[in-house]
């Protein structure tokens, strides 16, 4: 499945990485020699709906690239959950700006190829979950975004970043709605 498992039995550590798969997709999209960058999405750019009608997916493999990145995100790269959720909202009609954002993710991956899921940092057996929400984050329809992560022994096992289905009227409402989804997740 493109994942590689390494472990240290004396210390009861286990790491999952996808370096091989990531190198392959960088090569496939001709980004294998790009310069690395530290942040996957440009904080200064707010991606919006493509209004001028120039479909960037005609000249660039936008959808293929997002889907390849999405697979990496589902397997080990939870750090891509938010960027992928934003980019996949524009699958149908991406602009040049969106394509630049995809290329930026490749540059980010270039710099973080060696990142692995690491199990064993904490000794406790319990499952630990975190969730958070922004408010009014989407400039287009003013919906909020929720993210969550569940961890065992310091390693993430389940994660998500999603736009909420309804519009929240306050930060508190957004956060409250945001806690519902992760509460249901462990049972489904």
């Amino acid at each position: 499945m493109g994942m590689e498992v390494e472990r240290n039995r004396d210390e009861r550590l286990l790491r999952i990485n996808q370096i091989k798969y990531l190198k392959e997709i960088l090569k496939h999209f001709r980004m294998e020699e790009c310069k690395p960058i530290g942040v996957p999405l440009d904080p200064k750019v707010k991606l919006q709906r493509n209004a001028n009608g120039n479909d960037a997916s005609k000249g660039f493999p936008y959808r293929q690239a997002v889907v390849s990145l999405m697979y990496a995100m589902l397997c080990t790269r939870l750090d891509l959950a938010y960027p992928i959720s934003v980019l996949s909202q524009h699958m149908a009609n991406p602009s040049m700006e969106h394509w630049m954002a995809v290329k930026r993710i490749f540059r980010y991956l270039q710099g973080t190829l060696q990142m692995k899921l690491h199990f064993g940092a904490t000794p406790s057996k319990e499952v630990l979950g975190y969730c958070d929400a922004d408010w009014d984050g989407d400039l287009g329809d003013r919906r909020s975004t929720t993210g969550f992560v569940f961890m065992i022994r310091g390693g993430a096992i389940s994660w998500s970043s999603k736009r909420q289905p309804t519009i929240a009227l306050s930060t508190r409402e957004a956060e409250y709605m945001g806690t519902r989804k992760p509460q249901k997740k462990p049972y489904g």
């Binding site: 499945m1 498992v5 550590l13 899921l117 390693g155």
Partner: protein, 149 residues
């Protein structure tokens, strides 16, 4: 009854069930984390020519393969005894067979993820995650693991 290959497969007439459970990434990660914690053995195996092992629920016929025509019986067709690669129902036939085998050796299917099987006898814990023809076996007793393999 279905003819393979050549005729388009109409759902209602030619096959009924094609659903196959595939392991969730969450369960794979979860079980690997558990294995690391309890220092269990992890083995990975893929089943060679897995789909040839499945038993078919329907009667399926195919044209005789080129070069293996029956002399004087060119108008005959073959009835399939087992599933073949390329059939819509092959993955399911294989999964059913594996499911029956694992149940026969006292594995319980997880209700949260239909592709995870669990067995516990005394202190010996055993997990199997099925990803079509790839299996991940996790056990805290190496001998038992090798026996099942």
């Amino acid at each position: 009854m279905a003819l393979f290959p050549g005729t388009p497969k109409l759902e209602s007439r030619n096959y009924n069930e094609t659903f196959v459970p595939v392991a969730k990434f969450t369960s794979i990660r979860c079980i690997l984390a558990l294995a690391a914690l309890e220092d269990m053995e992890i083995h990975q195996m893929d089943v060679k020519t897995a789909f040839f092992n499945g038993e078919l629920e329907e009667e399926i016929y195919m044209e005789q393969p080129q070069g293996f025509m029956h002399q004087g019986g060119e108008h005959l067709v073959c009835k399939l005894q087992k599933s073949l690669y390329g059939l819509k129902q092959s993955p399911r036939a294989w999964n059913q067979k594996l499911n029956a085998f694992l149940k026969s050796i006292e594995f319980m299917k997880s209700e949260a993820d239909l592709s995870v099987y669990v067995a516990q006898v005394g202190d010996v814990k055993f997990f199997i995650v099925v990803y079509v023809d790839d299996l991940i076996l996790v056990c805290n007793d190496q001998n038992k693991l090798l026996r099942i393999k």
